[in-house]
Symmetry: C2
Subunit: 382 residues, 2 copies
């Protein structure tokens, strides 16, 4: 197989879909790897490193698409507002395809191109697929980075210190949403010595939060049915969120840092922190709203921007993992490698085995048909 | 006594010399506190908080100087390139006065104003003075902030992680100079899980570095006489630094992050990391040169700027503690409070007791005379 890796085109995307280490393994398994020149540069992987492990570095982007049997990308649709990459008929595309936001036009184009497009976001949460779960690997990095961003910007120290000049009280960090990103934010805040609290509507994560050394903020809410069978949060009714907001009113004002991570696959993020609550916080406090790309958990959040409300800084980052481009690319490329191993099977040929839950769940478009598997299974439908 | 606190005027100075908590204590001790309106704002302390503890908030800056018996400042000379604050005859001024950089003209002006100016930088390193040691309290915050800056910017994670997508190796952090700032940078990097190494010409700090969990990088150098009687590093000969650089060549290229903190009071910082060494580092690596204000420990460092050399980002921050304005102001105000307690004595009146090492060492100008105590004692003279 010829594996092609074009440079990423989405704005501020610094990750690359393949690392020299993964490329070396693929070449060792008898595949060819063709990579666009400079594709690894934003992640500090250089053309020479790819060449050294046997990749072909191509100057011309289109040639990558022409040659490849399988195209590996990070953001597969990239900045393609005015079109989709020049995929070839029968080509396999693997990447983050934004299956919840993809337009019908884009789906039709992919289907017209007759490509087989795998959306890694639709990876089933089964143990066999953990090593391919790019959402998790990247969310973990996002949680870490969100915590560092807040720590660096807060006009207070995170850790408690007993100094000759007096005791420094620890910063109060509150993490809302204890999925992969939230748990990593909690772990990082704890590492730095902050007084950390976590909250999630799914009471079953309480123990995980506490095992990291943080306190779990339990609200007096009816939370049955708040997680789906895969452990993702599901959308609750507006009455539920209203009550959640009312109860949050007592926790938010005491916090120096709030990191919100409450996203629901395929749905707008619930608004949990209101402008009114933020007004009760100390000036200089910092919020990082990781749910910004789907609307944010905080009323004033603007995706891709940093805004201020009542002296509180609210970050709405849309691609935190990209800021840690080297580690993020490493993890992502490893995810892809495991995915390819499963897809290619023993003989190294592509095997569209629809009995395989991993293939079936992630294959968005195939053979001229829009499959959209996440709509079919109905798990995330209200 | 009337204690006056003007707003800071140095560019990017966000600290304030007094916090509401310290002001409350001073008022409780029978003093008056007059503060310029908005002086605490950059550190997120508001006029109302000062008023609530009994301070007078004054709209007019000059009135603060007119009323005060004692003026408390952070950077006492502020941005005063074209002059010095309108101090009154006999007034006591306490702050960071930059005694090593102060010009003869500035000293003469202070002397002509007949003020008594205390430079906190000249605090003797005796146990009784630890609670007043602003250099230490601020350096510690600087070391913490430098580490966070590097962690946030590095395209790799600091901690080692075992994930489903493979093992993430920890970042390699190398801290040069294990004084207060260096030790705090080491402690913070260790907290975050980096693989941390420290180096100092003073072998006696080896144990402190190792007690934080880091490795001590020992160079094969003759280091006798590298620390003065107060524990500060002293300037060594050029031959020594040449050998140090030669041996650094093997450690620097392996590092993802370098934090340099090797400053010598009253002398230019030694150049330890050359441009050539940096060229051997991985692109994307990050250097934070805390010694930037006195010339920096790295060849490409520019004070107050962020430069790039061979793909490595080199920060030359000049006031890291100010970025943590709230904690830094708290610690600084506590330092001042302890200093005032010593200066004022039991009866609450100023006591210029020259037998008191603290008074004697820090009193830069008094009674129309330029004392310049650090020049007299000769400790830092070559």
């Amino acid at each position: 197989m010829i594996v092609g890796v074009p440079a990423e085109t989405a704005p501020n995307e610094k990750r690359v879909a393949i690392t020299p280490a993964v490329a070396e393994d693929l070449v060792g398994d008898g595949h060819e790897v063709a990579i666009e020149t400079g594709a690894g540069e934003p992640a500090n992987y250089h053309d020479e490193q790819y060449e050294a492990v046997g990749c072909t570095v191509l100057d011309d982007r289109d040639t990558v698409f022409e040659q490849a049997d399988i195209v590996l990308q990070v953001q597969a649709l990239g900045a393609a507002t005015d079109g989709i990459a020049p995929y070839d008929e029968g080509q396999v595309v693997v990447g983050l395809l934004g299956p919840y936001d993809i337009t019908d036009t884009q789906l039709e184009t992919l289907s017209d191109q007759s490509v087989s497009a795998f959306a890694l976001e639709l990876m089933p949460r089964i143990s066999r697929a953990q090593s391919m779960d790019a959402l998790s690997s990247q969310a973990s990095l996002g949680g870490y980075q969100a915590c560092l961003l807040a720590a660096e910007e807060l006009p207070k120290m995170f850790p408690m210190e007993m100094t000759a000049a007096g005791t420094i009280r620890p910063a109060e960090v509150f993490v809302i949403g204890a999925g992969v990103a939230g748990l990593k934010a909690i772990a990082t805040a704890e590492r730095l010595g902050a007084d950390t609290r976590g909250h999630d509507v799914r009471l079953e994560v309480k123990q995980e939060v506490e095992s990291l050394g943080a306190d779990f903020v339990e609200l007096d809410l009816e939370t049955e049915g708040s997680g789906d069978e895969e452990g993702y949060a599901v959308e609750m009714g507006e009455e539920f969120y209203a009550e959640q907001r009312r109860q949050m009113q007592r926790v938010v004002p005491e916090s120096d840092v709030i990191i919100t991570t409450a996203a629901i696959p395929g749905r707008p993020a619930p608004e949990i922190v209101t402008a009114e609550m933020i007004e009760e916080m100390d000036a200089g406090s910092v919020i990082v709203d990781i749910a910004a790309p789907t609307g944010g958990n905080c009323e004033p959040t603007v995706a891709g921007e940093t805004v201020e409300h009542a002296g509180v800084t609210i970050h709405g980052p849309t691609n935190l993992p990209s800021q840690m481009s080297k580690t993020a690319s490493e993890q992502y490329a490893n995810n892809l490698q495991h995915f390819l191993e499963n897809l290619l099977g023993e003989d190294g040929n592509i095997d569209f085995d629809f009995e395989d839950e991993i293939i079936d769940s992630t294959l968005l478009v195939h053979d001229g048909t829009v499959r959209n598997p996440h709509l079919e299974d109905g798990v995330n439908e209200t």
